[in-house]
Symmetry: C2
Subunit: 480 residues, 2 copies
Amino acid sequence: MKLIPVIMSGGVGSRLWPVSRETHPKPFMPLPDGQNLIHKTFVRATALDDVVEVLTVTNRELFFKTEDEYQRAAKVRGPQSFILEPFGRNTAAAVAAAALQLESVHGADAQMLVLAADHLIADQIAFAQAVKKAQVLAAEGWLVTFGIQPEYPETGFGYIEADKASTLQGGLKVQRFVEKPDLATARNYVAAGNYYWNSGMFCFRVGTVLDELQAYSPDVLEAVRATLSNSRLSEGEAHRCLRLDAESFALVPDISIDYALMERSAKVVTVPCDIGWSDIGSWNAVSELTAADENGNRCVGEVLAHQACNNYVQSNGRLTALVGVEDLIVVDTSDAILIAHKNSAQDVKHIVAQLKKSGHSAHLIHQVVHRPWGAYTTLEEGERFKIKRIVVKPGASLSLQMHHHRSEHWIVVSGMARVVNDERELMLDTNESTFIRAGHKHRLENPGVIDLVLIEVQSGDYLGEDDIVRFEDIYGRADC
Amino acid sequence: MKLIPVIMSGGVGSRLWPVSRETHPKPFMPLPDGQNLIHKTFVRATALDDVVEVLTVTNRELFFKTEDEYQRAAKVRGPQSFILEPFGRNTAAAVAAAALQLESVHGADAQMLVLAADHLIADQIAFAQAVKKAQVLAAEGWLVTFGIQPEYPETGFGYIEADKASTLQGGLKVQRFVEKPDLATARNYVAAGNYYWNSGMFCFRVGTVLDELQAYSPDVLEAVRATLSNSRLSEGEAHRCLRLDAESFALVPDISIDYALMERSAKVVTVPCDIGWSDIGSWNAVSELTAADENGNRCVGEVLAHQACNNYVQSNGRLTALVGVEDLIVVDTSDAILIAHKNSAQDVKHIVAQLKKSGHSAHLIHQVVHRPWGAYTTLEEGERFKIKRIVVKPGASLSLQMHHHRSEHWIVVSGMARVVNDERELMLDTNESTFIRAGHKHRLENPGVIDLVLIEVQSGDYLGEDDIVRFEDIYGRADC
């Protein structure tokens, strides 16, 4: 029985700003143990039995970053494939695209296990057992949801009402899906005993989900089918990559898989489970991952406290001092700081909305920018200068390029660089430097087997990223 | 009648951490209007009538910085003099040293006006009028204090009890000095009408204060006299500079001028005044200098707020987001953030004490370090590299030096540099760079008439500031 975990890597996680940003969203946010959620999700998925490939549906801007994470997670690169969206189009479109592609590769009997890239599951063994149960039900033609045993009357989740009389092989028939309830209703749900948190994870046969989509949301299925026929598929050594055509994808209805299918189909069951699930939906959930000290403060990074209690602090290099404060969330990043009351953790998204509205870039980017050849961090910008720390992966190369207005000074702090500077080619060893005059064609390459780290100091009258003329690029794309 | 404002630039202002630091203390802290307290104090002092010179008593580490401020404040450099302390020894020692020096230069009839470098006085006209009154009294042999009309029952100041029946030429005889009271006592003082805040400013004849010190604290006077006879006096074009000998200064009793003299002498009067005085004693006082928005938030720098009120935020380049919080003080600097409740503003000093105890440098230095030749800012430190922005003043020069373990790469971003690199001497124009190999003697100089700004990238295995061998230094001191 072939199983294909489908990792859905969608939303931005604006309630986790300023760490989560549009170009570095929630799945990539490092947790206190140093790992991020997409890394954990990938490891969790590949550890299951019967997995023949892992399919990831994500934004195309996150492709290189996601691949880097998977490479870090897996010692041997297993069969991976990607569906790259030009923009988010909700979950029905993503599930349909995955199902159609998997049908053509693995056939209608293959099973999809739909997972969110940004959830945490603490109990891998219980999770694997739940998946086994789901697979049995999926093989019989059910659309299987995973219902989380509620621990408390949470008002931030949807609930699944199950029919406890209808047991079938570890599952329960679903009576209905209910929206996020108010507190009183949530309490009733928990007391009733047959309500579960809707985790947004699913398991089904490829054939079943396509048939049911055809029956209940044929418009979605048709529009996705049209998109696929216009999209570019590239097949590499170990992975398949489908880049969805933007024009036709824009015509797919923007609807969730819950609305499009789950709430309509009669074939829906749930596998109740207790797997240590969390959707890491706010800073309060993140704070739970760090142990509290004797004053209830949970601190990641260097913190000094004086008569302060029950605070969560996450800092990055800077010292944070708390004096006489309680119940605060403090999250410090290189360009923005959040200070929120714990009771207002959900409202952080309003800050992101304000930033977006005002055209501020702090919701968008971090100072670290990932590129196919590595990454760069803008360390400092000032009048007439900009300083970057550039990491080039072994064997990687930046495009051959030229700037009209800026000179660049490169200083190798570790590794070895091969540099094309105008007509010359030279090798730079650690501690050596070179100077690229404005108007000179140049290329930077790492010929070695360890990371090349260099400091670039740009100087000149104009230092915008758009002062670049590219001549050759091995990645066939714009880079920096 | 000669008047010499004596600016006492002493304490650290640890309640204003993280902006105020040991090497960049409270008088140098920029206020929202861009000026700092010592600048304001100097301008206020020089604007008075009869001023023949301004004498500043400060720590020798703050000499260059103080001079820079005065130069910025005064279009024409007036007669300035300095007494430089090797370490703080309380106010009696400072006043005695100033009085002894002024006696030898201006005679016993000259009048001293003792001012704190870190107080704010909003009403310059009322201040000048109060000084005039004080001068009349001082000429008659009184030790004059300035009693601030209390606005509310402050518990953080000492009070002066005056005899309202004893009016003499705009002054009142002082009955006693009282320590910081509790709230109930403070209320009684304000209600009584003859209690004033002790501002710590004084006016007296040089001869009077020396006679009274001889009478009430002869040990202080003798020890300071001995220190002066061991100290080095240098007289320049426009200023006199007395560097106190550390060994003998350490023998001076550590006592305030209030204890040593004011509370003992029978010749003490007070001039009641209403001059808009504030000792800027905590972040609450600083926050008052910025207007509140409609939610009561007072913000310096870029701040976004959602359901947040009555907060004070002072940031420096980074965006601060407040969500659902109130009555907080948030002060962000490049290496440390303070988050305090307004009611705990006085407790910030405990954080500084903790830092000191643990040997942390965040109480000590800022990233900007001032030197006689200019200043440098550490922009970034990482594995095997350190990046500084260096500003060299026109005509200034760093010492001829050498490093064993690090190479230095210099990139000129504005101005012109003259560089000695081993046996070569070269001129570097804007956008040009050079490379100083480890082990090579080198010197950096600004031959031009505008600031030289350069980026220095250090690379190597060891980047400590102590890897430096100095050969020549035009300032006769250790610099960097």
